[in-house]
Symmetry: C2
Amino acid sequence: MVLSKVTIDIPKNKTYKDLIEEYGDELGVLQREVRRLNLSVNVVFEGWYDSFVGEIINQQLLPLDSRGFDFYFTEAPTSEERKKPFMTRFSQKIAPKGKLAVFDRSWYMRGVIEQLMDDSNPLMCGQNPALDDNALSLFTETTKKEIIHTERFDRLIDNINGFEKTLTDDNNILIKIYFGISKEDRVKRKNSWKKTIPYIIDKRSMEKVYREDIYVIKELLDRTHTEHSPWSLILVKQDLDLAILQTMKTIIDQLKPAIEHAQLKLEKEYRNGENIPDIEKIDELTGEKEIVHYEDRYADHLAKVNLTKAYGKKDYKKKLKKYQNRLAFLHYVLYSQKKAMVLVFEGWDAAGKGGSIKRIVQSMNPRFYRVIPIASPTDVDLRHHYLWRFLDGIPTCGKTSIYDRSWYGRVMVERVEHFCTEEEWHRAYDEINLFEKMLTDSGMIVIKFWLHVSKEKQLERFNARAANPLKQWKLTDEDWRNREKWDQYYNAVNQMIEETSTKNAPWVIVESDDKYYARVKILKTIIKHIEKEIPGQEKVNKKNLNE
Amino acid sequence: MVLSKVTIDIPKNKTYKDLIEEYGDELGVLQREVRRLNLSVNVVFEGWYDSFVGEIINQQLLPLDSRGFDFYFTEAPTSEERKKPFMTRFSQKIAPKGKLAVFDRSWYMRGVIEQLMDDSNPLMCGQNPALDDNALSLFTETTKKEIIHTERFDRLIDNINGFEKTLTDDNNILIKIYFGISKEDRVKRKNSWKKTIPYIIDKRSMEKVYREDIYVIKELLDRTHTEHSPWSLILVKQDLDLAILQTMKTIIDQLKPAIEHAQLKLEKEYRNGENIPDIEKIDELTGEKEIVHYEDRYADHLAKVNLTKAYGKKDYKKKLKKYQNRLAFLHYVLYSQKKAMVLVFEGWDAAGKGGSIKRIVQSMNPRFYRVIPIASPTDVDLRHHYLWRFLDGIPTCGKTSIYDRSWYGRVMVERVEHFCTEEEWHRAYDEINLFEKMLTDSGMIVIKFWLHVSKEKQLERFNARAANPLKQWKLTDEDWRNREKWDQYYNAVNQMIEETSTKNAPWVIVESDDKYYARVKILKTIIKHIEKEIPGQEKVNKKNLNE
């Protein structure tokens, strides 16, 4: 796609001021539409240095009702933000339904450019202090041109395009505007600044820059100028009112059809299960036609699980102690190497998620792990994309987050209970894979455990809980209701495992009819992954264990 | 009050392990009580260096259901946190109703001690890099002893005691435990560490410290050992299991009566308005007795307001431009001096809050201000102390937050509509004064505007809104309902102004029947406050304005 410049015709009988007022009223009306229709609107402003971005944005905000928007001036990341995947701080700010979010600088300059500066440290773990604005000066003309051909640049572009598609797929509206400015106009501005504002804010932009970042930025704009989320380019000259008008017009022109489109899309959506089409399949050997139901298209991963695996108590106790000690040690290694880890626990009710998590953290230092139990979403959660509420739990580097249930609720309970549309949970597989890729791309270990038990074993455990006064609270009516839908969940789990077991974030099915076996297998799996990710540790561990 | 050491009797027929299991079950039961009764429980762990805090805490957490607690290991503040009043990051983490929050280090070590390190910069604006752990080494024996006699230390103690009283008054349970350890035991630990954990985490504590911080910490504990929130002191020896037991016992022993007490208190609470007692007053001149109704005890501040003040349009436009330019300039000065500002707007419906805010921000750089519109609390908000939801909007240094409605809702709409109990809104005046003092203590400018209009003028504006298609949305049924309760609000406002107009955070009543007059007065007031707070600016401004 090719970016084209925004132009505007000014009717002869009107002044700029007249039009700014008219457009302001129109923006106000659209904002109320956004609220009424519960849409999330995100406006991204990026621009060349000294292109008046701040001044122009202020004029867009003034006509708006302040209850209806959030404004974010994106500065360099805080020390905490530096320790998380680079998109996290932006994803967390995406407008909730019914509101606008206005970004003055975004994941483009503050995300990509910062990432590129930091070649030595893909984890962004604060080890490298060069991540602030001054880092721009690290660039030489040559590396700038070269960087757009690197695999790293590709990955960042993929991350951004995937992220933006996730947003627009979920009916979030995204408007991206880039302000250009010529060298002459920039110099004129600089001179006028000297007179009126002795306290110049962005000293850097005045003195240091004007280097040719243009190669990278042009490529960045080109490759993120997508059908679902195109760029608008506005060339700013000395007449600021004209630029303000062009910007207002651009927002209005994009918001109007987007609102209509979102409205249509909302009407068209059908509920899960009402309309899953069967497909025709031709048997490879016989050539016969066969009708395949949607849920039969996936392999029966769970059927292959050998649930008879078990350990005796004495054996278990010995193994438990051994592997807990080893994990405790490796956990310190992870911390010292600033390597983050995400462990996801999913499984049937009463499969032993809680008990397994307890055995993992028992010997860990609580300062470096966090157990994140996932309950029903709050009303605030429900105003965001379903992945939003998991962002806060993403560990900073060196730390471990253990999710007790997770984003996989989308393709299990939300699918089975029709809390989302079929289109939504279908789409979720790709969204989840992208989400987890962002985690592993930033250097994290991600392991997902499915704790599998037989239907009989579950019943046995339910009954045992009901009989134990100290454990009764664990058993709820919901558990019994879920059990009635065993087959639907069974299908959902098979599909989930097939669609989301990736090389970077694999599913591990844990045979859990015997709790002892399950716990030991989980501990061993985690240890194995850490050893693989931190070469050289295997030996150190062995030595340590033998002592 | 005097701190006493926790001791424990171990029955002869039981081992430590037996008791740890028993207490664990008991903690689990209490946790479920906490959830059932919707209580907020906060456990604060502090301790001398190398006193096994981490290990002991982990054992307290293991018996708990992870859905019911949050664990916070308080590290040095992030770059963002450094820019806010020191209590903010702790207040934001106080347990929501129904949950426990466990603090490994808290406002004591991480708040007070850090504050004291940073003598040069009361704003904590990140200008002083000495705020990290190494800062401890800045202390000399002498200054340590002396610091407890400073006004600054007093202020920190007042802040903490006030904060904790606010919590416990609101039925939040607070348990504070301090771990002591002898020099000999610390050395033994150090040696055992060398063998088992080659990756020592807290290197600082091993090598640098053991200085005599004891003066300050002892004084800190003594003066925060209050009736509403006492300390428990546990002396840790080499037998960690004993310390774990003592800790569990301490928590159980405090949680049990606290739960009972909270339950009783919840039952006793009566609703606002049902039971406000009249008081007897004796006239100073005549000696006659008089019965005074609660709401007549406060002066009628609003009656004194001269609502005829007004400006002509031409005069207004000139003044507006002049003061807007001046404010825009001073806003850059605030930023460059890292001075934060909080502006609170309250007033009758249709008094012109939105329009006034617009005139303030019109010439400001959006990167340095934020308008925070306050709507009804979400369900997440409602699980916290009512001040909690305003914390996120507190500006970082150099920035301005403009609250469109605020925490004063507690003593206005929540009082009048009976959304809180009488006891709660009564208490709120002190709580608000303390809250605002924390803001100004950390160097912020705080100004509160009450926009006052006559009842007639309000009706006039309601009717005008109803007639204008572009403004109809501003007028809701609620506005009409509020208008019916004019007299009740009138009394509430008078009391609010009397109780919360402080020297550090004054109320400014704005005559708003004429919008022009109101806007100019507000601009002038803000300018005056900034000039006062940043000496020397008055001249610079004048010069700047004359140019």
